[in-house]
């Protein structure tokens, strides 16, 4: 009798345990599915809500402040981001940003995995062969950064036979490679190149002036200065796959934003200055003094 009830009890325990396990697995699975849905709801509910209904996948490399960076909550911030949102509003599409390494952006456009890219990308003849650019939206140029105690470097000529750090795939990298005898090290992002300069492994960094100036101003890089003036004049453009059907739409949006004063406001916010005149089309061969 006692033994029997013991067996029965053991049986029941096993059954309840089994049932518990089953419920647990079901519950876990359900929770996972719910969580997966929960993640997707915001994107699927917001995209049809936007006027025009179009979403454009926009690539950017968020390691290039003040143009694109990650805010404290992990959201994207910067001049390019705000401009693209404004352009989207004016032209009736919603940009959906995707973070990509800079040297992967052009291949991604070629492969049509993204619809556009805004990443402080200079309009160059080489790039214009493989992707289509919008009208210029920013006037920039390259600047040389050196350590504060460096007095001898004044221009590109002083960099012959010196060590230079650059970011891979940028116009700065091209410029550095054209200096005779220079030892060029390439890094994946601009902050790494500047860190290399700070650590004393190279003599100079050649990169876009606004970015280097912002890095110095934000105070995270002590002991670095920018020498002389811009060594080149360059224009940034929004890149799209070759002869993309969105080209017209993006250009229209850019024109609207530049004419109605939104562009000035965004420029003022990020650079605390009045924007310079922008040409309608980029001189595909940038003049190099």
């Amino acid at each position: 009798m006692a033994a029997q009830s013991g067996i029965r009890q053991g049986h029941m325990v096993r059954i309840t345990r089994l049932r518990f396990l089953r419920q647990f697995t079901f519950g876990l699975g359900g929770a996972l599915i719910l969580a997966a849905c929960g993640n997707q709801t915001p994107t699927s509910s917001t995209s049809p809500a936007s006027p025009g209904g179009d979403t454009l996948k926009v690539a950017t490399e968020p390691a290039f402040p003040p143009f694109e960076a990650q805010g404290q909550g992990g959201e994207l911030v910067g001049f390019d981001i705000e401009l693209m949102n404004a352009v989207g509003e004016a032209a009736g599409f919603k940009p959906e940003f995707q973070s990509l390494p800079f040297d992967g952006i052009v291949p991604a456009l070629q492969a049509n995995t993204v619809d556009a890219a805004i990443s402080a990308m200079t309009i160059t003849p080489e790039r214009a062969q493989t992707v289509s650019f919008s009208r210029p939206y920013f006037k920039a140029g390259l600047a040389i950064a050196v350590r504060e105690n460096n007095q001898e470097t004044q221009s590109l000529d002083n960099l012959k036979n010196k060590k230079i750090a650059v970011q891979i795939g940028t116009t700065g990298a091209e410029q550095a490679n054209s200096i005779s005898g220079a030892q060029v090290s390439t890094f994946d992002s601009a902050p790494l190149a500047l860190q290399e300069l700070l650590n004393g492994n190279v003599d100079a960094v050649i990169n876009d002036a606004p970015v280097t100036l912002d890095a110095i101003k934000s105070g995270n890089l002590k002991g670095i200065k920018v020498v002389g003036q811009l060594v080149t004049e360059e224009f940034y453009g929004i890149a799209m796959p070759k002869s993309s059907q969105n080209l017209e739409k993006v250009n229209q949006g850019l024109n609207t934003v530049i004419q109605n004063g939104t562009y000035d406001k965004i420029y003022q916010k990020w650079f605390a200055a009045k924007p310079p005149e922008l040409p309608e089309t980029a001189p595909v061969d940038p003049p190099t003094p």
Binding site: D103, Q110, T130, I168, S185, T186, E196
Partner: protein, 239 residues
Amino acid sequence: MFQSLTLVIQALPNLLQGALVTLQLTALSVFLGLIGGSLIGIARLSPSGLLRWLTRAYVDFFRGTPLLVQIFMIYFGLPAAMNQLGLPFSLDRLVAAVMALSLNSAAYVAEIVRAGIQSIDPGQNEAAQSLGMGSTQTMRHIIFPQALQRMLPPLGNEFISLLKDTSLVAVIGFEELFRRGQLIVAGNYRAFEIYAAVALIYLVLTLLSSRAFSFLERWMDPVKRTGKANTKMAKLSQP
């Protein structure tokens, strides 16, 4: 198609130079990693508790953190920390790369060495001692030769992993095989052709090294080396 082929052929000399750098990097790091790893592996079995604890901590740290993070820490972090302390310090790219790779590989090799030694039956040790051998003699003539043979396959694995992991030092601007490929793509935007060529070169390198290791395994196997029937078998099974 034809255009892709000429593209790859054009890039090949540059990529092969990069492969040479990759091989140098691997050879240096494997050499240092083997020495360091053997010492640490033996120290993990030492009677001294402190030594055991220290080597355990070393293995846990280097095996438990990503190699990529270790490379960043050594190349960018270490000089930055030293400069903050007011000590001027800079690290050569090659030194930093070899340091990171061999410190990391030493941790894995240490575990392989420890496992190899521990896998030998304790009876071997007792037999050697009853023949009047000291502990160093036992290790040198009895335990280690047998353990080495068992360590070879996992060491081969580790070598191949390390060969592939050298591509990670591209992040500190080291121009080995992968970074050369990246630089070419940054210029001509032909991602598929160039990266396919890079992958193929890595594949050739790893296939060659796995062949070399299986040869080494056969060569170190005393049974297969002496037995006549076995050599015939080995010859037959050779491709």
